[in-house]
Symmetry: C2
Subunit: 404 residues, 2 copies
């Protein structure tokens, strides 16, 4: 007998039919003799509807009250799903995060899970009940409801799998696994049978939207066996684990793209020790995440620092930097939001010098100009004109996956 | 500085405009220097919408999961109302019943409040925050969410007022107080400035729908100063208290009607000691409430027992009684659901013999036949043909209130 955690997202529980479908999947798992903990998101548009309700009353509502409001969405899902299992005559109980004791930090709308009390859930499992838990939320030290921010329900599922040492944590989505690239863009993209935590992390942070980084990081830390699987079709998904048995070690796991970024260049910086620290410290204090950073060598008296950030932060970043122009001693800012990033990800990629070259070759053959390059142990990213991004993904994917 | 509890029902918070209106009433009370605890019901049709959602999935869902589902309704209300007060710059916090610690019995969908923890609410009041609490719900010993059944939000408000020794508990509704009878039926019905707990209890149980019995009973027990007041117009409502200073002691507080009842007669009962006990014990075991009971004197060998119950219970009651016909030794059942009850209520009514006579006189003058009579210390009820009920209310109201 195994303990399996199953997580279903908002589109998987969006209406009565979908909830019944989810109940059938859970029932099948339970009737095979497994213990099952289920984690659910809010139904389809519920969260958006609630945000709209709040907007009519107070567009600048406190995050504390927004969390109080939004957390009702998952509670509706878990109660309805429990009812669907009751119809099948199965023993089931739904629990909100505060009932489970999912203890989180007090940062409303973006809380971190600190600890999960095991008592209530364990008592229910001991009674052989299916336990259905609200994803995306926790309760802080003062007893206030928190929400976990983006990817929160995946994180709830992985945290529960870690806390109860589950044998498997299945993330059900409306795609059937992790692909070598976006199948809507490249129709012959392949589904991966397995992928390492590190590869999944890089793919997720480079734009693949199947799993959120936080949940993968947590899975890696606690060695949780993750599986991304379809809630609509019964077929094997993609396993995310520590080490994979890749058939061809030289190949990459996938190609990812990200067009939500903007590039900022600080031009004509004086040689000023610690200026890079000052710039990025300033941005981080305003919660602006910086991705690729490039610093010119500075053959002349001045140098440039170029970096990318999320498009939504561009205006704020420019304002903040201009406010500190005198202290930072740069000449002016050049900003560009018509750019995109394409990355290849694969374990052992950088120790295999042919791989990066193969990527650049594909881009060269397609006549695509590279603006910046950034690498990690298992990833190579290039910055391109936004209009070249899709063509680049196709060319790179074809180079790695069609030419074998 | 006083502590005031204010309760607003579902129609008072049904949309953004109404919630803003409620926030203005709360703000006005708070800005006069009062501490304020607010109790809210779910918005307008939310509860019905949630019940419909459940019905699509499981028409016989467990009450435990229904409570889990329905309790989200009030949580949405309290969060939205807190946001409306935030717009005004007022310090406010919304709390669900489990956060307050409204401890209830474990009877799902019809729980009773056992105790209210004072810690969290008191801490918030000490910070001069307006505290907005979900009505209609509690949490049982095992940490499960319960709902309090009919009139639950009124009961929550009175229980909070009792626990925190509030100076006043205001129940805001869409009528502006308690009337001498239904103003839709009798246009010159008068609003009462004040009414005793006992009178209110009798009026409520005899069909007046302004306040639910449970909340009035609780208010009486803990001597909570209640006020029924309009959420739409700013004018004085009706005060419910221990003793009122009625100008004319001989007059009644109001005339109530109830057409939701049915009459059952067990005809030809053998003289059988304890048969009345057996009959009503049987019904109470099936949760069927019996109201007026009349037993014939039994001049012959057999006697009859006649009683009234709610229309919805009629079929079940007949089935149960027929199943036990042999043991109970009656000949047959006569049932009638085309009846109604009209009551007059007034403190000291029965010690003033002219009052009941005045009621019967009004009915006689209107040519209305009385089927059964039932009295309490402060009430006289008559059973009539259903078609005579409205005419009876008008005649009695005119006799008591127009002839002065």
């Amino acid at each position: 007998m195994s303990l399996i955690v199953q997580k279903f997202g908002g589109s998987s529980v969006k209406d009565a039919e979908r909830i019944k479908n989810v109940a059938r999947i859970i029932a099948e798992t339970y009737l095979k003799g497994n213990d099952v903990i289920v984690v659910l998101s809010a139904q389809g548009d519920t969260t958006d509807d609630l945000i709209a309700k709040a907007g009519e009353i107070n567009p600048h509502a406190s995050k504390r009250e927004m969390d109080m409001l939004l957390s009702t969405g998952e509670q509706i899902s878990v109660a309805l799903c429990a009812m669907a299992l009751e119809v099948m005559g199965l023993p089931v109980v739904s629990l909100a995060a505060w009932q489970v004791g999912i203890q989180s930090s007090g940062v409303h709308s973006d809380a971190r899970i600190r600890r999960i009390d095991s008592e209530r859930v364990q008592a229910e499992l001991d009674q052989h009940r299916i336990v259905i838990v609200t994803g995306f939320q926790g309760v802080d030290r003062s007893g206030d409801v928190t929400t976990l921010g983006r990817g929160g329900s995946d994180t709830s599922a992985v945290a529960l799998a870690a806390a109860f040492r589950a044998d498997l944590c299945q993330i059900f989505t409306d795609v059937d696994g992790v692909y070598t690239t976006d199948p809507r863009l490249v129709p012959n993209a392949r589904k991966l049978d397995e992928i390492t935590y590190d590869e999944m992390l890089e793919l997720a942070s480079q734009g693949a939207q199947v799993l959120h980084n936080r949940s993968v990081e947590l899975a890696k830390k606690f060695k949780v066996n993750l599986e991304v699987v379809s809630s609509l079709e019964r077929k094997p998904g993609t396993k995310v684990k520590e080490v994979t048995k890749m058939m061809e070690k030289t190949n990459i796991a996938g190609v990812a793209k990200d067009t939500s970024i903007a590039r900022i260049a600080l031009v004509g910086l004086q040689h000023n020790p610690g200026v890079a620290f000052q710039v990025f410290d300033l941005l981080s204090k305003h919660n602006i995440n910086v991705d690729v950073i490039l610093q010119s060598i500075g053959r002349e008296e001045t140098k440039d620092i170029t970096f990318t950030i999320h498009k939504k932060d561009q205006e704020e970043a420019e304002t903040i930097l201009n406010e500190h122009r005198a202290a930072l001693r740069f000449d002016h800012i050049e900003a560009d939001d018509k750019i995109g990033k394409v990355s290849i990800v694969g374990a052992g990629l950088m120790s295999n010098c042919g791989v990066a070259a193969k990527m650049f070759e594909a881009l060269y053959e397609a006549g695509i100009n590279i603006q910046m390059i950034n690498t990690s142990e298992i990833r190579v990213s290039v910055l391109l004109d936004e209009e070249d991004v899709n063509r680049a993904v196709k060319a790179i994917h074809a180079k790695f996956f069609d030419e074998i």
